[in-house]
């Protein structure tokens, strides 16, 4: 297909439709409302289900219900709305049904603001709902990548009977870029052997997240963990730039990652041998990749639009072998390439953080910046 | 003369709650204190004649433990 100009949010919605989305349940919230608005027109056109739910709580449980029938279903929201979905997500994970959720992140905590942020990383990747459950989390940094990952998200969710979240900051939702849409996939109702779609001509089925007997729950927890090992083995995705001869590497996902690319290019232009690693799957996280990189680079600079969340995952992979530095902007601010370039200069000059936790040194450095 | 009927109370399901007993219009039911079900309940039974097969016991039974029969050829209407 030829490239067309797409706005991030609308591209996400159309990509989902092309991937075979049969039902969307959502609730308006900036900066992702365009997804809901786009689908409020598009889904009925195609005779597919669209419901503006009474709340995000309602939406995620409608998703849960539809997911139990084996159709491709999704919801989308932004930070506060996603927080309301935590119980539902935990149930979906415990019931082992596939579901896709998009979080167009905004400044927080609380009501915060509607500007771009990446501060729900820990919620998406580590914490979130109660109980132990794995989930796949994809982090696009451009409209094309958002389109491709939306399609992938349905395939992965289905393949692993798992939640697949797509997290992006508000700016990816608002940006317009030329991008190529996939062909429209025909809707094929796969007859999954687990779906509760009516016991016509077969044994009845039950879908639930209850394992009232602890040993049974333990078995279930291990089944999920086993499946997660497969995901970790097969689904890690990332993009590397200038890493071959890099003496140190910047690590950033989503918009922070693409802003870093500009900074890295600028640094290269100055002859600084720096590379960039942009995780595309933040869960499973590319631990191995960073582990191996650590053998070759002498330091890492993690950049995020939060207070340093993925930062800990990088440190877990690096295991203290080389310095891991941090630079972030928060509260809805998108860093400019210049800021990251300045940090690259600092690292290139070996001016390491003095504190045990580099985020403390970063806070000290920021004092001047944020006060103005 | 009233129709003659009889019931079978399943030991698997009966929990000895006595709802059927208090509902039986003929007052021919009681708990069988001589027996315990596998779950440890005294099951209900008819202790004397007079059951008309009205199926009211089955209608009130929370555990669908009662099967009701009637000694007439044409099938009677279902309870409810």
């Amino acid at each position: 297909m030829p490239k067309e100009m797409w706005k991030g949010n609308e591209a996400i919605a159309e990509a989902a439709v092309r991937a075979g989305l049969e039902a969307y349940f959502g609730y308006p919230i900036t900066p992702q409302t365009e997804i809901l608005e786009y689908l409020s027109k598009r889904m009925p056109e195609l005779g597919r289900a669209f419901v503006q739910a009474e709340s995000e709580l309602g939406a995620i449980n409608m998703v849960y219900g539809a997911a139990c029938t084996g159709v491709r279903v999704m919801s989308s929201s932004s930070s506060p709305g996603v927080s309301l979905m935590m119980e539902g997500l935990s149930y979906i994970a415990g019931t082992e049904v596939p579901a896709v959720l998009v979080n167009v992140m905004r400044g927080g905590p609380g009501l915060g603001n509607i500007a771009p942020a990446q501060s729900d990383y820990n919620q998406a990747v580590h914490g979130g709902g109660h109980g132990d459950y794995p989930r796949i989390v994809l982090a696009p940094s451009s409209v094309q990548e958002a389109i491709d990952l939306m399609v992938l998200s349905f395939d992965l969710a289905e393949k692993y009977r798992m939640i697949c979240m797509v997290i992006l900051d508000g700016s990816v939702g608002q940006i317009m870029e030329p991008a190529e849409m996939p062909e429209m996939r025909p809707i094929v109702r796969k007859d999954f052997d687990w779906a509760t779609n009516g016991a016509v001509g077969r044994e009845r089925r039950i879908l639930s997240s209850i394992y009232i007997d602890p040993p049974a729950e333990e078995v279930a927890n291990f089944r999920l963990a086993r499946r997660w090992q497969e995901v970790q083995a097969n689904e890690v995705r990332y993009k590397g730039y200038f890493l071959d001869d890099a003496e140190f590497a910047v690590v950033g996902f989503g918009t922070a990652g693409r802003v870093a690319l500009s900074a890295v290019r600028a640094a290269r232009a100055e002859g600084i041998k720096v590379g960039l690693l942009r995780p595309v799957t933040v869960s499973p996280f590319p631990y191995q990749v960073i582990d191996q990189l650590t053998g070759r680079v002498s330091a890492f600079l993690v950049t995020e639009m939060n207070m340093g969340q993925m930062f800990d995952d990088v440190r877990l992979a690096v295991k203290g072998r080389v310095p891991v530095e941090f630079y972030g902007r928060v509260g809805g601010i998108v860093p400019f390439p210049d800021e990251i370039l300045a940090e690259i200069h600092r690292v290139a000059a070996g001016r390491w953080s003095v504190d045990a936790d580099p985020r403390d040194s970063w806070q000290t450095r920021m004092a001047s910046v944020i006060s103005r | 003369m009233p129709a003659k009927g009889w019931i079978e109370v399943s030991d698997t399901y009966c929990k000895g709650c006595e709802l059927c007993i208090s509902a039986c219009p003929q007052e021919v039911m009681e708990l069988d204190m001589s027996r315990l079900t596998p779950k440890g309940y005294h099951p209900a039974h008819t202790f004397k004649d007079g059951c008309t097969g009205c199926a009211i016991c089955a209608l009130v039974c929370p555990d669908a433990a009662i099967t009701v029969y009637r000694e007439i050829t044409k099938a009677a209407p279902v309870a409810a």
């Binding site: 940006i175 317009m176 870029e177 500009s262 | -």
Partner: protein
């Protein structure tokens, strides 16, 4: 090659569309491009702005602190972006809405009476196209023809009848800017 253009003005001045037209024009000539609006509280009333990046390789940041090219359609935008423009850059200013001259000597500030020109053409809404035309004198990667094609391709149907006037606006803006001694 990478060029960043920032366009700013009041809500109603067609800031976002002006940026989109540039983006479309660049895209149609095979360039890689990004268009990103400022969104959020400013939207209700207040000023709006958008940034267009045109390049021939994968674009990193869609935003830049110091753009080399900018259009300021009103005074607040002029005040803000005159400061931020990269040295040597070009700033198109809608003379009709500002009451002062340039402060910086290290950038090219081109004043264009966009409103007046637009009204001469017969539709003040074309003011943004006048400014775009002027900008093209500094944005060599995109020609007036490219933008005309983009307009043809992307102007909402109900405005198609305005195409000739849009072309006129572009041309007038371009010519006016050329006349200004750089």
């Amino acid at each position: 090659m990478q060029k960043e253009i920032l366009i700013a003005g009041f809500g109603g001045q067609g800031v976002l569309f002006a940026g989109q037209v540039l983006a479309y024009a660049a895209m149609d000539t095979g360039k890689i491009v990004t268009w990103i609006p400022s969104y959020g509280p400013e939207m209700r009333g207040g000023t709006a702005n958008c940034t267009v990046v045109i390049a021939d390789e994968e674009i990193g940041s869609p935003l830049v602190k110091n753009p080399p090219l900018a259009i300021a359609l009103n005074l607040p935008s002029f005040d803000k972006y005159e400061e931020l423009l990269a040295p040597g850059g070009t700033l198109i200013v809608n003379q009709s809405m500002v009451d002062r001259g340039a402060k910086r000597g290290d950038i090219h500030t081109i004043f264009v009476p966009c409103n007046e020109i637009a009204e001469e053409i017969g539709d003040k809404r074309l003011m943004n196209m006048v400014a775009v035309g002027a900008l093209l004198t500094a944005l060599t990667e995109v020609t007036v023809k490219d933008v005309e094609k983009a307009l043809e391709g992307h102007l909402p149907a109900r405005h198609k009848h305005l195409l000739p006037k849009n072309y006129e606006a572009l041309k007038r803006g371009f010519e006016h800017a050329q006349k200004v001694p750089a």
